[in-house]
């Protein structure tokens, strides 16, 4: 391969990685956390008992909805399982003539049915859902902008990965090399290691991430074939034809028996349940297969009559393209993954976060050596260094603050769930201020140390102040909650250890210019490019 090609790739790698690198870091961290979305949904509501009997909860959900919204247009019930905090239900009232039907007001029309089959009185929180939504919808901005930003960042990531493979072509030969305590060399080795150790994961997650946004990023295939959005939707997500409300009242069958039948036909657990026109002679119950039971995220569904519980419709087999897209999205979101595979996903995600972070730091490490006057670096360098501290150290600090807000905010607080999220951004803003006023090395140490202390202290607080301390969850065999606590402890200690190393780090004396110039050209050319 010609040298100039590799150099051009190196340029591409450096700049595609840098410009959106901070956003990539945030997306990667939030996405990695979101692999434990269901676990966090439970962890962030420590009042709730684990679900032992899903059908009891389901029956409770039906009783609740029949009392609360007997004449709704439709009900939605997320089939409870031992992984979920309860059965999330929401209902859509009958549309009022002349009024636009929106998703607004959904918040007042929902409830969470707990393990005993009654609506829970858990703390108001977004739980793990926040991290999931945040990693593609961001926050405080219109969703469509956010998705474009994320989409562009993901494309930059794909470019950075591919050009990185070319640039650091020695990564495969030097697979097991980590030169420690050698400044730039060590950073480069660390960056390469985190990249190459889970390279299949990085490629997969970036590519399939783009697939989830493909209809937005590349709408032309859709535009060329479908004039009507609705038609496209029907084609992609087939569903039974809607029925008019007949006006004749008829009691709804036991949803649980319908779900049991559907699960027998699927040979797998049920996921979403939708009831249209409940309490009417035209009522329909649609049961979708759980996404945790299959690779593709486009799950088949069955529709039953709501009056006698007979099967009247089933979704057609998906086409090849739809199935492929579904499988890729499924591969990305790992809903199918059991705990073993989920841990692998999570660890690979952590590797990805470290890869992005070390790449960003490497940019400054590499250039610091060459600065004409290290005491007064140029503006670009200062901005990158500042953003590195503010994002790479600041965002985890924000997450730690959010987890504490989840534990500490008063339970009766208005808009409590929103304030948990505000806590994240307030802490992040604080980190930004610290990064502005402190010298970079001090700010790194302070933020990493604070994050570590906050994270490691949460499991201790859980033991002292909640019923779901580590001892209790381990005794109950509730390894998801226990695992989250242990992971927080481990990450907390790792942050503290990193902070200590940063604080005790003394930059090596600068190599004199003369010695550097003496390095023969031939050797310099053979050194790993970056």
């Amino acid at each position: 391969m010609s040298k100039s090609f590799r150099q051009s790739q190196s340029f591409l790698h450096t700049w595609s990685g840098l410009i959106l690198g901070w956003m990539l870091f945030v997306i990667f961290v939030a996405g990695t956390v979101a692999f434990w979305r269901e676990g966090l949904n439970r962890w962030m509501r420590p009042e709730l008992d684990r679900i032992e009997q899903p059908y009891t909860v389901l029956a409770g959900a039906q009783r609740f909805l029949e009392r609360k919204a007997p004449d709704a247009k439709s009900w939605f019930i997320a089939m409870p399982s031992e992984r979920s905090p309860g059965a999330q239900v929401f209902w859509q009232p009958q549309p009022k003539p002349g009024k636009e039907q929106g998703r607004r007001g959904r918040r007042d029309n929902q409830s969470l049915i707990g393990a005993d089959g009654t609506p829970t009185v858990a703390r108001e929180t977004r739980g793990g859902e926040f991290f999931y939504r945040f990693h593609f919808d961001l926050h405080y901005m219109p969703i469509i902008w956010a998705r474009w930003l994320v989409g562009v960042a993901a494309m930059a990531m794909l470019i950075a990965i591919l050009s990185g493979i070319v640039t650091h072509k020695k990564i495969f030969r030097d697979f097991f090399t980590l030169r420690r305590g050698k400044g730039q060399r060590s950073w480069l080795d660390g960056h390469n290691a985190t990249a190459v150790l889970s390279l299949p994961f990085h490629l997969m997650i970036t590519y399939t991430g783009l697939v989830t946004l493909m209809a937005m990023l590349m709408p032309w295939a859709v535009v060329a074939n479908y004039t009507d959005q609705e038609k496209l939707f029907d084609r992609l997500f087939p569903h039974v034809e809607e029925r008019e409300r007949s006006g004749t009242a008829a009691p709804l069958v036991d949803i649980a028996s319908v779900v049991r039948d559907a699960e027998r036909r699927f040979g797998a657990p049920a996921g979403q349940i939708q009831v249209q026109e409940p309490g009417d002679a035209a009522a329909l119950i649609t049961v979708g297969r759980s996404q945790s039971s299959m690779l593709s995220s486009r799950a088949p569904s069955l529709t039953y009559s709501g009056v006698d519980g007979k099967l009247i419709w089933q979704s057609p087999l998906p086409g090849g393209a739809s199935e492929t897209a579904g499988a890729m999205i499924g591969l990305h979101s790992a809903r199918f993954a059991g705990y073993g595979l989920r841990w692998l996903y999570f660890l690979c995600g952590v590797g990805g976060c470290l890869m992005v972070a070390s790449g960003l730091v490497l940019w400054t490490v590499k250039r610091r050596e060459k600065l004409p006057d290290p005491a007064r670096p140029h503006l670009g360098f200062r901005v990158v260094e500042w953003l590195n501290v503010a994002v790479v150290a600041g965002f985890p600090f924000g997450i730690a603050a959010m987890l504490w807000a989840n534990r500490l905010l008063p339970l009766t607080m208005k808009d409590r769930a929103q304030w948990e999220i505000h806590a994240l951004f307030l802490a992040w803003a604080l980190a930004l201020c610290l990064a502005t006023v402190l010298r970079a090395a001090r700010a790194w140490a302070a933020l990493l140390g604070a994050t570590g202390a906050l994270l490691a202290a949460i499991p201790v607080y859980n033991i002292a102040a909640t019923e779901r301390g580590l001892h209790a969850t381990l005794a109950q065999g509730d390894f998801v909650l226990a695992g989250i606590d242990i992971a927080l402890l481990v990450f907390g200690l790792a942050f503290l250890a990193t902070a200590r190393r940063v604080a005790s780090h003394r930059p090596a004396p600068r190599r004199s210019r003369r010695r550097e110039a003496a390095v023969p050209e031939a050797i310099a050319a053979l050194e790993p490019a970056e």
Binding site: F176, L295, L344, G351
Partner: protein
């Protein structure tokens, strides 16, 4: 089966790791002759293949492939961390007499590569 598959991946990358000059020298305390290097590499690839078979057997055709890649990443990371962070010597064979001179010179050819 899942656990055996993970272990197999670790073994595979341990063999890959030990087939590099530097780590072989550090861990096993002897120079790496080319033929042994080839043997190590071959055994490592074999372990990768066995890992694939085990992954398919454990998780089925669809998830097996995903799990295989995950297991390989896991094995590679484990071995990488072990070789680089666990101080050598603790697991080393009794050092031979000419050990110190060899390890001192071990770094030199590397930096020229």
């Amino acid at each position: 089966m899942t656990i055996i598959c993970l272990l197999c991946a670790v073994v595979a990358f341990a063999l890959f790791g030990l087939s590099t000059d530097q780590h072989h020298q550090q861990r096993l305390g002897s120079r790496l002759p080319p033929e042994r290097k080839r043997a190590f590499r071959r055994a490592a690839w074999l372990a990768v293949a066995v890992c694939l078979v085990l992954a398919f057997a454990a998780q089925g055709a669809i998830y097996g492939a995903i799990f295989w890649l995950g297991a390989l990443s896991f094995g590679a990371a484990t071995v990488f961390l072990f070789l680089n962070l666990v101080p050598a010597g603790r697991f080393m064979r009794p050092a031979s007499a000419d050990q110190p001179t060899k390890s001192a010179s071990a770094d030199e050819p590397r930096s020229l590569k």
